[in-house]
Symmetry: C2
Subunit: 187 residues, 2 copies
Amino acid sequence: MVEAHAVPGPARDRILEAAERVVAEVGAARLTLDVVAQAAGVSKGGLLYHFPSKESLLGALAQRYVQSMEQCIETAKGGISEQDHSRDLKACIVGILGTDPRSKAMGAALLATAANDLTLLEVIRERLVAYNQELAASNADFARAAIVTLAIDGLMMRESLRISPFSETQRVEVVRELMKIADESYR
Amino acid sequence: MVEAHAVPGPARDRILEAAERVVAEVGAARLTLDVVAQAAGVSKGGLLYHFPSKESLLGALAQRYVQSMEQCIETAKGGISEQDHSRDLKACIVGILGTDPRSKAMGAALLATAANDLTLLEVIRERLVAYNQELAASNADFARAAIVTLAIDGLMMRESLRISPFSETQRVEVVRELMKIADESYR
DNA sequence: GTTAGCATACCGTCCAGCCGGTACAGTCCC
DNA sequence: GGGACTGTACCGGCTGGACGGTATGCTAAC
């Protein structure tokens, strides 16, 4: 069972966070309104007050995915020198593949949304398109930088689905090599 | 609606193929036994004769994912020189990101299985672990080669979820660059 | 006549969404 | 200040439909 964390704060956020926990722990198929409500410490009626339908809950999860991504990257930027040419790309690597707990929940949000309705992911696509345009307009080697972002996504997905074959040391190697390729992308 | 393709051949394969079509067209959440049966041109009883439970159907989809992957790669090997040191890795790129229709269905199989029960993906993890061991034992630059495989997965996933931001020409660029990194991995 | 390969009808459960409530904090009027 | 009214936030039982699975019937092949 997914326990109800007595987390304070706005009910809306508690519900979204609870939904991510439910997906991570019992799977996207068991993401029911009752279970989410219980995990969030709210009644079903209370949940439906904030999210009038399951679809709206899933849409909010997709939105949250985008926000978490931006926040993780923004936070990670703080740890990288402003002189570094590949700062943005490295922030993606560190932000998403680092230890930020928000990044762990992102996979759950993506999976839950994707499982129920692919069109709800449009908001994520828009964000990726914007990022892609930035990349194309920058002085980076486009293809090489794009591959870095793809590898980030690939690793995140594998870990969300628990099918990553890497040992801990291998993972460290991979992340370090990603940083190296990020450097190679800018010159 | 998902039309019933009057595809001949063994019913079992027709059902699995139909399931992949259903997921690709209407989403993993609407992958119901009734819909799959209809799409495969079989009755529900007929479907349940071949797959006694939904779980067994999903398990077979995961198996099929592994098989499709191996076949796509094997087929692609034919188009690459035996002298090429990075032949195996390049076969992955071409096989999975190429035009083979089987590779298109793989994302659907993965998504459907993941949405319902992550433990059914174990068979996929095992295959990845095996491949990872091959890679580690080879004379390739491990991290660099691993990144190629991760980027392949990342791109495949984005395209399955229809959130890939790349234009057609950008995609070609990315694939070409992947081939280049594959070469860099072996020397 | 027995088995393989289906089809049809049906059952029980689960779940999304609805609805009739409750509690409470304003706030406007008198 | 106190009654009437309104909006916000939330509760929990209910129901109708969907969906997984069962039970049974049918037919052609061997």
